[in-house]
Amino acid sequence: MSVLDLTHISRNFGTASRPVRALRDVSLRIEKGERLGIVGESGSGKTTLARIVLGLTRTSAGTVSLLDRDVTAHSAADRRFIHGAVQMVFQDPMSSLNPRKRIRDIIALPLRAQGVGTAATRASRVRDLLDSVGLPQRFLNARPGQLSGGQRQRVGIARALAIEPQLLLLDEPTASLDVSVQARVLELLVGLQQRLGIAQVMISHNLGVIRHAADRVAVMYLGQIVETGTTAQLYASPAHPYTQALFSAIPRVGDKKRTLGEDHTLARGEVASALNIPDGCPFHPRCPRASDICRSAEPKQVEVSPGQFARCHLVEPMAGLV
């Protein structure tokens, strides 16, 4: 039994005449204990995908199956089921904690809202959760405003783990943290996942983070998954030009100074808007290798190597980018 099965998901917003096509034909499967990384920039649809998995919004097409139960209908019962099995660590530790509540109430909320346990068992569970995220007990009565960013993010992690979810979503959990703090929180997440064995989806644009937090990776662009494979495969030889561009764009310590135009794999121009997705391959306006077929025909998934797929007409895996 897989934990999550998304089949040919699409999601449109706006009007029928001018739709914003946030997700187009996305399929994903997550097994028990698996760690999936989703890489994408703004406009890729990753946020919409996360909201569908969390049960915050419905799909326009396709099916969503959670723990072998079809929840596509998004009924109230479906949503309750989802909330009991899927939890999220949010990106911004400043705004994802209610500044007026105390830490112990923030962590206890999922338990209270879903009627788990008694007041006594809940209090004890909150204490255990605080321990497992490395925060001292005296934080229970504090308010978020008294804590640092890293400490707040740990509270967010504790809250997400409260009801023992089967699937944990993390939306850029370390993006708003300082470098040194980010590493500590990441260490905590990796350690927790190893101990608890929860299936996990980590959304991040930071390929360094994904490397250490995911076993499989899906790269999204303008509402589609353009490449997918194991972490080892993708980092050794990414096949899709967008993935290659992402790798080239990472500024690394020890890089020599770049001069403009030297690197051929950099993507040009701006991300297109989901209102106006280009014909053919959606990446062609920015692709350094685009050719005629790219402008007219939508590429299908090509198996580049066993288990590694890319949506590209001119697949040319590139090694040595890492």
Partner: protein, 304 residues
């Protein structure tokens, strides 16, 4: 040569993950410190505290507490301000100072009840309209707008004239006019707050609408509400006094400031003290609450 004793026993001053980075300073201490910087706000605070003290302890402070009722003392009628009667005496010989002091209690009672009622009605309506939106929100806000369109004084006069003048009617009438402002304020703020990530986090946690509305959204409205309440108290008192002045509110012999102003009108310009002192009381009270409200506005705005 350097020491090579590891420094693990150095005092930790917020340098380890497990210390809160900042100490929680009680809200009142921040309030006092910030308000203290503005002389006007302190004046406002002083006036408000004075009025509250008078409202609570009036009958014990007033030099002639019986004069607040229906006593008569024709021997001392219409005396100008003197050492015995600081504010003079009125047409039946009652000490004006005592009546003004006890009148504070009536004004504050009106203010307190009106505000409590208006908040209890208006705020939930505003939050519900904002969070659920849709047709319910539309209906609620349209009803709100109907009430808002009627000028408060006219509305209150109509209700008081209809139901007969008395203290409970005054309170009910003003509250019915006033809830709309709180609904609108709560609506606007709640619209903002519901977009915050912690509301989404609460949804993901499985919290239902009512729980979110009242435990996530409502606590974040309190600063705005406190400011509005403070500023509004002045206007409510003024409205109550206006009703009293027109004879549609509290009835004599109760020493409500509005009535006293009205009664004193006939004696102008000779016995000027009959109108002036109650009028001053109204004036000072409203200004006091306004100054304090402005100070709180700056304080709470600065906190964000």
């Amino acid at each position: 040569m350097t020491d090579d004793i590891p420094a693990r026993d150095l005092p930790i001053a917020g340098g380890v993950e497990d210390g809160p980075v900042s100490v929680e300073v009680p809200a009142w201490r921040i309030a006092v410190a910030t308000l203290g910087k503005s002389p006007l706000s302190m004046v406002g605070l002083g006036i408000v505290l004075l009025i509250i003290v008078l409202a609570i302890f009036g009958p014990w402070i007033a030099p002639f507490p019986d004069d607040a009722g229906a006593t008569v003392n024709f021997a001392e009628r219409l005396q100008p301000p003197s050492w015995k009667h600081w504010f003079g005496t009125d047409i039946v010989g009652r000490d004006v100072l005592s009546r003004v002091i006890v009148g504070a209690r009536i004004s504050m009672m009106i203010a307190a009840f009106v505000i409590v009622l208006a908040v209890l009605i208006g705020v939930p309506i505003g939050i519900i309209a904002a969070y659920w939106g849709g047709w319910l929100g539309n209906v609620l806000m349209r009803i709100n707008e109907v009430f808002l369109a009627i000028p408060s004084l006219v509305f209150v006069l109509a209700v008081a004239a209809l139901l007969g003048p008395s203290l409970p009617v005054v309170i009910a009438a003003i509250a019915l006019a006033w809830w709309t402002w709180f609904a609108r304020l709560a609506y606007g703020e709640a619209l903002h707050i519901k977009e915050e990530q912690f509301v989404e986090a609460a949804q993901v946690s499985g919290a239902g609408g009512l729980r979110i509305a009242f435990t996530e959204i409502l606590p974040n409205l309190t600063s705005v509400l406190v400011v509005k309440i403070t500023l509004d108290i002045g206007y409510v008192i003024l409205l109550g006094a206006a009703l009293g002045f027109l004879g549609l509110g509290v009835q004599p012999p109760d020493p409500e400031w509005g009535i006293m102003v009205a009664e004193g009108r006939d004696q102008l310009p000779n016995a000027w003290w009959l109108t002036t002192f109650p009028g001053l009381a109204i004036f000072v009270t409203v200004i006091g609450f306004n100054l304090l409200g402005d100070g709180l506005n700056d304080l709470l705005g600065a906190r964000q």
